[in-house]
């Protein structure tokens, strides 16, 4: 691996800034965080991704100090955080609701944390102005939170949490209230700010695209557990479970039984009268074991003529979803299985090759999909 790639999690000598050690959090009988262990490194942009209610906010609140773990330890720069109250942690949080002080101006909101530190007046003014410039809010400094737009409010919340230059910044669904375009712009802005300030960011989101865009690593959560932690590309290309494969992006999932192994290839029988699927397993499977084969729609080719790919099925076009730059074809195989195939629309619609009820071939190479146990 080249030296300039940022991947401290691969370096055995790197010291994590955050360590969760067997952390469990219970609310009464309900287990919100279940025996969770994870290391997060300095300068990372770490994304927590998962459905609503899986415990993302609870994790953040434990980092900020608003909840204490029922069991286990949270370490920040090697120090156990349990006895440290929120106001003594070098951690700042950008709240899901922004939590701007309605009685204070934008300027005063940003200065709030600096005042608490007793920063000298001129130094504080300079810092606030710097934050205003960074978030492009100079014009709104004198306004109250209810006098600015949602997007501007969100930037005030960001500026306020950055002003104290925390070691760690927690962002709880920071862009939830923004429309798509503003959201994308802000994502790049966030990455920019993270690069400029060198702060470690932990961001919570339930939007997988957002996690993929901004994060150095993504943790996919489910029911208080982390199912997989990896870079966005690894998560996408080699999910470790059908849950992750299904959660991130679009996927075709086919259930079958492990057949004969030939070299590094494995055949999977999955339906009467259909040829086996050939895949390249990363782990070993026993013969006859249930396998879930997952393949992304864009890795499935759709053609009129019989392709040369080792895995190919005949079917007919059932549905076409036109997305502008892409089209997704839903192809029905004779046994009823539907395979989604995605192609780039680099031609005009009138010249497009396939239409409803067309007899077509769907096919893929023997390394295009992943074989999953569960």
């Amino acid at each position: 691996m080249p030296q300039d790639v940022f991947a401290p999690w691969l370096d055995p000598d790197a010291k994590p800034i955050i360590q969760f050690k067997n952390v469990t959090k219970r609310f009464g009988d309900f287990i919100a965080i279940d025996d969770l262990t994870i290391d997060i490194y300095e300068r990372e942009f770490f994304a927590l991704l998962g459905p609503s209610g899986c415990g993302k906010t609870t994790m953040m609140r434990m980092l900020a100090g608003f909840e204490t773990p029922t069991e286990g330890n949270i370490l920040l720069s090697g120090q156990d955080m349990a006895p440290v109250p929120p106001n003594k942690r070098a951690v700042n949080m950008m709240f899901q609701s922004y939590a701007l002080f309605p009685h204070l101006s934008v300027w005063e909101n940003i200065a709030f944390g600096l005042r608490r530190d007793g920063m000298p007046k001129d130094e504080m003014a300079a810092r606030v102005d710097e934050m205003l410039r960074l978030t492009r809010l100079e014009k709104f400094a004198r306004r109250k939170p209810h006098q600015i737009s949602g997007g501007q409010r969100q930037r005030v919340a960001l500026a306020r949490s950055l002003a104290k230059a925390p070691k760690l910044l927690l962002l709880d669904e920071p862009l939830g209230a923004l429309d798509k375009k503003l959201r994308q712009e802000t994502q790049f802005e966030l990455m920019d700010i993270q690069e400029k300030t060198g702060t470690t960011f932990v961001i919570v989101t339930h939007d997988q695209e957002e996690a993929m865009t901004v994060a150095s690593r993504v943790a996919v959560m489910d029911h208080g557990k982390i199912v997989q932690v990896a870079t966005p590309a690894e998560i996408y290309e080699t999910p470790n479970s059908t849950y992750v494969a299904d959660f991130i992006g679009d996927v075709n999932l086919i259930e079958g039984k492990a057949g004969e192994k030939e070299g590094d290839k494995l055949s999977i029988s999955w339906a009467e009268g259909q040829p086996d699927i050939i895949g390249t397993p990363q782990t070993s499977f026993d013969k006859g074991q249930t396998i879930h084969f997952a393949i992304r729609p864009e890795k499935v080719s759709i053609t009129h003529d019989k392709p040369t790919n080792p895995v190919a099925f005949r079917g007919k076009v059932l549905d076409i979803a036109y997305l502008g730059n892409l089209s997704t074809y839903h192809v029905e195989l004779p046994n009823g299985q539907i395979i989604k195939a995605q192609t780039a629309n680099n031609r005009r619609i009138s010249r497009r090759g396939f239409t409803w009820e067309d007899k077509v071939w769907v096919s893929w190479t023997d390394t295009a999909g992943v074989l999953l146990e569960n």
């Binding site: 949080m93 939590a99 104290k164």
Partner: protein, 296 residues
């Protein structure tokens, strides 16, 4: 037409329930006391026609208002009322804020019950409740009995018929008017604001000062006016719980009216009282307006 009607309703209401009674009182204030029924002259005799009306207006003068400035009693009573109202408002706030705060922090399922408990006293007669305070505060009353049986005091405390008893009575009576607006301000307060303040370096206590207090300011102001305004003219509490030295304008007014049967002077006292009250009422309205704007 409909619009006109909608606008007219509150004005007719105001006219019937405020302006007309006020003009009647003002008219009496400009009359002279007389041994008759009603006990003042002139009275309007419409059967005499135009001449009667002229006689009536000729009989009106500002004598009674001049009289109010000549006798110390009145301005001292006004001043004393303002002072008692201000002090009791302060104590009501001191007692009411923590209660409102506790209610707002209580678990959701408790809140309706707590609100009920605050409002409950209104369902019994105000007079009975003030009388029962006489039973508590008198020299042989429950308070002294308890304190003496606990050995905290050896001589009974003299509370009844002093200003202290008046303060206790006012704080007790007007407490709900303080609690409810503060509670409604605190209840709206987003808990994440306090967490944000802590996150940015505040202790619990400074978060309370810097966030909770400023954000419940409108409620505090509203509560203070709701206690202060009616307390100035309060009559029942000072006359039942206060002593001969407790000087309040409501008591003076009552004595002028019923003991002296001097309706014109009593009316003049009432008119001046109203003018004094107009200032805090306008300020109160302004505060409410501001609150609505902040909420909207």
């Amino acid at each position: 037409m409909r619009r006109l009607f909608l606008i007219a309703v509150p004005y007719i209401w105001l006219l019937a329930l405020f302006l007309v009674p006020f003009i009647i009182v003002l008219k009496i204030a400009l009359s002279d006391a007389w041994l008759a029924i009603p006990p003042y002259v002139p009275t309007l005799d419409l059967s005499a026609g135009w001449a009667g009306l002229k006689d009536f207006f000729a009989g009106l003068d500002f004598e009674n208002f001049v009289f109010l400035t000549e006798d110390d009693l009145y301005w001292k009573a006004y001043l004393s009322s303002l002072k008692i109202a201000a002090i009791s408002t302060f104590f009501t706030l001191l007692v009411g804020y923590p209660i409102a705060y506790g209610m707002a922090k209580a678990p959701d399922e408790w809140r309706p019950t707590l609100l009920m408990l605050v409002i409950l006293p209104f369902w019994t007669s105000f007079l009975i409740r003030v009388y029962s305070w006489m039973g508590i505060l008198s020299q042989e009353g429950y308070l002294n009995q308890i304190l003496m049986s606990l050995g905290i005091i050896s001589e009974p405390l003299i509370i009844l018929n002093t200003n202290t008893a008046v303060y206790i009575g006012i704080v007790y009576t007007y407490l709900p008017f303080m609690i409810l607006p503060i509670y409604s301000a605190l209840e709206k307060l987003d808990a994440s604001l306090l967490e944000a303040a802590e996150d940015l370096g505040c202790s619990r206590f400074s978060a309370f000062w810097l966030v909770t207090i400023p954000l419940s300011k409108q409620g505090i102001i509203a509560g203070c006016f709701l206690v202060f305004i009616p307390t100035i003219g309060e009559f029942v509490i000072p006359s039942l719980l206060g002593g001969s030295k407790t000087l309040m304008i409501g008591k003076v007014l009552w004595e002028e009216f019923f003991s002296n049967r001097d309706w014109p002077v009593a009316s003049a006292v009432a008119v001046i009282l109203l003018l004094i009250l107009v200032i805090p009422i306008i300020l109160f309205q302004r505060n409410e307006q501001k609150q609505r704007e902040a909420d909207g």
